[in-house]
Symmetry: C2
Subunit: 511 residues, 2 copies
Amino acid sequence: MAEYWSTLDVDLHLSVDPASGRRVGLEHALREAIRDGRLAAGTRLPSTRTLAVELGLARGTVSAAYDQLVAEGQLVAVRGSGTRVAQAAAGAGAGAVERGSPRAAPATTPAHPTAPALSTTPLGSGGESVSRPGGAPARPFALSLRPGTPDLSHFPRAAWLRAGRRALNAAPNDVFGYGDPRGRVELRRALAEYLGRARGVLADPERIVIVSGAVQGLALLGQVLGGVVAMEDPYIPLFHGVVRSNGAQVLPLPVDDDGARVDLLSGRRYRDVGAAIVTPSHQYPIGSTLHPARRQALVEWARDGRRLIVEDDYDGEFRYDRQPVGAVQGMAPERTVYLGTASKTLGPGIRLAWMVLPEHLIGPVTEAKLHADHQSEALGQVTLAEFITSHDYDRHIRAARLRYRRRRDLLAERLHTRAGRPAAGFALGGIAAGLHALVRLEPAGMSEEEVLRRAAEFDLELEGLGGLWHTPNTFASSAPRPQGIVVGFGSPTEAAYPRALDALVRTLSWR
Amino acid sequence: MAEYWSTLDVDLHLSVDPASGRRVGLEHALREAIRDGRLAAGTRLPSTRTLAVELGLARGTVSAAYDQLVAEGQLVAVRGSGTRVAQAAAGAGAGAVERGSPRAAPATTPAHPTAPALSTTPLGSGGESVSRPGGAPARPFALSLRPGTPDLSHFPRAAWLRAGRRALNAAPNDVFGYGDPRGRVELRRALAEYLGRARGVLADPERIVIVSGAVQGLALLGQVLGGVVAMEDPYIPLFHGVVRSNGAQVLPLPVDDDGARVDLLSGRRYRDVGAAIVTPSHQYPIGSTLHPARRQALVEWARDGRRLIVEDDYDGEFRYDRQPVGAVQGMAPERTVYLGTASKTLGPGIRLAWMVLPEHLIGPVTEAKLHADHQSEALGQVTLAEFITSHDYDRHIRAARLRYRRRRDLLAERLHTRAGRPAAGFALGGIAAGLHALVRLEPAGMSEEEVLRRAAEFDLELEGLGGLWHTPNTFASSAPRPQGIVVGFGSPTEAAYPRALDALVRTLSWR
């Protein structure tokens, strides 16, 4: 019985061996976690009730185990502040502390899809930003609704390991060698089938290039395309930086509730634009879906001028209220680069993303990939191929979709009907899909700054729209910009999510 | 009992279940391999003697199993051409043929350390080269002594899977998320310890950046350093291209039997050089070791001018005749970038390499890595960390060193004493270390071109020095360049190596 649980601070993998009895097994697992440093001194344990629910044990069993460890001096119970790991107890096994203690690992705060982990300030937008390797974020929060990552505690560890073993046992020796810069053919075949079926992408394995995340996809495209590229505004600051530092100019393209303002692309301002980078399925961060008429107009703009659409389909698998919106790529495969990723379905740590390319870009992108890192790591590729062809991937996505849909529903319910005394002037949008929604702040209500400050008082980390605009002075900035909070409901653990929602409701109820 | 064996064409992983008896187990394993397409129709099986040795079975057991499958019509025995898979027998399981059949995989010919897999012509040296994605090499060879990869059939599959399971079970959830662009702290800590111990590198985990192969390391350095970089000549053409396409100019630096001509760096021609990329431990491809006096001069050149040494330590683990030569980095850690890799110890497919940086480069390289692909894949990193800390890595390297040393000895023995009527005018060099040696062709003997043509008649693929010079017209080219064959003794399987050596001896005995 291996279970994950979360305290306010850490997620911990706790293996309770049922053979030794539940209470004894839990005591043993806790002692081991304290000894090898996974539970650091001072860490607050979850309440007995929370842990009992998460582990499927009786509350009395957990209480008894806690009591035993308190008696041993390994835990300390302080009235009003819960149970904590004693100062003297932790880290007795020094070797183990060095390996994988969550506290020893550098504190990183994922912000957006493929967000800068080093800094909470926009990176690369003006070249003035400074990375802070190893630096902790300005303050750690107990709760977070920042967008950008799925619930990592649901990564299918066991199924992934099994798929890896099957894949590695079946793989020819050349999997360990230098291979095609486009990636393993097993994965390209599996993806061609999957993307056609699930996303309406016209994908031939010969046209797929496996890349190490969307960041690398955009970096290679920046090198290959050069020139002027239009990019939705707001979007992800790191992505502007990536495209710019790889040799292309970036022109912001406004978005509204119908997605990117495709109509503007025909104007003078955009006449030099050779490619538009868009998120048609679920705009990041606004959450809107590109209107069908605009999809059509976008395709025509690309066809008529022999221009390129770069379709960032980062969360297309997660649509809740109707059938997923198919990819734009299916409408114009020779004018579209489709960019998909496993970062939202599995996790960004495995760094697997894919581009489906028009014929004329296969050669240049393959050569750019060769000069970037020769090829992406191969064992993860054959593992994902096996994971897809065995339909583990579909099963995992279906289960995740259900979970996230429940979270989305809970978010909507709490904000609309249970907010106590809800502040006037906010509205929830972008909830039809994905792992984030937008709480739009109306002029009558609180400002972004006020909301973020207030949330911090409830120990809740949020992300405002403010940091996601291209620059403080794009041409669209003459009109007052909408203010809002991008709420990521993907990343908290199941246990932390209700608490985070509570804090959000309280934050927005203030005044 | 899982064993690998090789035919002339394919390497195959054959699981013989000892529970069912040796002969029956082998029959079963062969049937399965034929059914699921791993053994394609027409494939020649190894001789009963070879297979018996490789699997540790009696020869009679293998003969009996072959006879049984011949009787079943699954194998065909043809006098003088051995035993082959029957045409009708193979590929009954169509699904399996698509996944991972060595024949179905794209044919790639690894050439050098991190060699271009797409093309046998030098890539990137003049911008005129064309990649050939998916294209097969001009002709497939039955035997190959091209350098650049270790024996992939000895990749420690089982130990790697076990380490992966331990690492994944122990890892916190954040291993699946966005992390430090420098890579997992578990691996950086393990490497700091290992590199200090095994290579004399002064490595602090804070100064290590994990990269996806040496190619990416050089790409990031090209971006960060810019300016003019000196690079050994001959070296790897792909590497020139990588550094150039990432924004630095490249100036060739001649090498001789004492390694790089460090003395030249003080001359007018090199006055703008800010960094020198060198292979001090075992020059690629010449095979020489940088002379101690030159090591000292190199360090002084870097210190006096606040310049940088980039130490490509691609095969430093494999030294046969005395203690490994320590890394230059240990002499001047603030003026050296140390670049190490798992490509030669494990295999390039896992794409794990590491840079140990001077303090002032940590920030810029980390930011370049963030903009390249955010971070390297994390599961392979924690697996390698576990593989190192459990000392599986040391054990694997020791075993590999013994194997390669035996191969090196056999190469020397065959070329020096058993070559029948050896052609006048060749000499073997660079054999003190690594996975390749240089057969130097003297003017009296055959030209490179003749040797390559002759080898092709014996179905042997070789690599000449010719393609490894920077350009046809470097300033050093007024003197006639040495001609030679870079013999890679790492990549053939155990079974194929003696046959490849036979072909090499015959090639060089011709005239």
